[in-house]
Amino acid sequence: MMNVRVRYFAQLRDAAGTGAEDVTGEFRTPADLWTHLCARHVFPLGAGDLRVSVNAAYVPFDVLLGDGDEVAFIPPVSGG
């Protein structure tokens, strides 16, 4: 079992109804984790629309997660 902290922003925060949650389950990568989260929430965006960060750095969706990591799925950004 893996335990991570998931952060939500913008549309994903609205959909999840929270800015962060601790998630425990059988997932090894952000791609697995996203599938796991989609069973708990109805998100308005798909994995193809998102980037992912682990511990405040962008990473590929197939990187291996570690226990206690902070994972954020990043909706299309709109700064500037």
Binding site: R7, F9, A10, Q11, R13, D14, R51, S53, A56, A57, Y58, E70, A72, I74, P75, P76, V77, S78, G79, G80
Partner: protein
């Protein structure tokens, strides 16, 4: 130096004081809150940021710019929280010996910020509604800020 703050942004002169007389060209980009978007009247903006990633990614963007356009000095600041019309949401200042490098570095940094800084804009409209804005830089070519 990359800043992310909820207070009003420093002026370009304060952001990049030029004691360095080797820099003859200074280019500033300032993105301000506009009163309209796709035909709707905008009354205010709210920026949400993932602070830890934004600070790290902002610093990476500036490092990449410094390598790519060397020798150039470039700094940037982005604001978060609620902003009123006309307030600066982002400031980029690039300085170099000559104008070409300063223009190129400034342009590259604002484009990188719009592409990958984890900041999200929510517009508040005159009719009382609000909405997250899809990134304008790739999806439908909306003009800056």
């Amino acid at each position: 130096m990359f800043l992310l703050q909820s207070e009003p942004l420093p002026s370009p002169e304060d952001l990049l004081p030029l004691a360095d007389h080797a820099c003859g060209g200074v280019v500033t980009f300032e993105g301000r809150v506009r009163d309209h978007h796709e035909g709707r009247a905008v009354t205010a903006l709210e920026y949400e940021a993932y602070e830890a990633l934004a600070l790290a990614e902002g610093a990476r963007i500036l490092e990449e710019a410094a390598e790519r356009f060397s020798p150039v000095r470039v700094v940037a600041a982005h604001r978060h929280g609620r902003l009123g019309l006309g307030e600066a949401a982002v400031v980029v200042v690039a300085a170099s010996a000559h104008r070409q490098e300063a223009f190129a570095a400034c342009r590259w940094v604002i484009d990188a910020i719009k592409d990958r800084l984890p900041v999200w804009k929510r517009e508040h409209y005159a009719d009382g509604t609000r909405a997250w804005v899809a990134c304008g830089c790739h999806h439908h070519g909306t003009e800056a800020p």
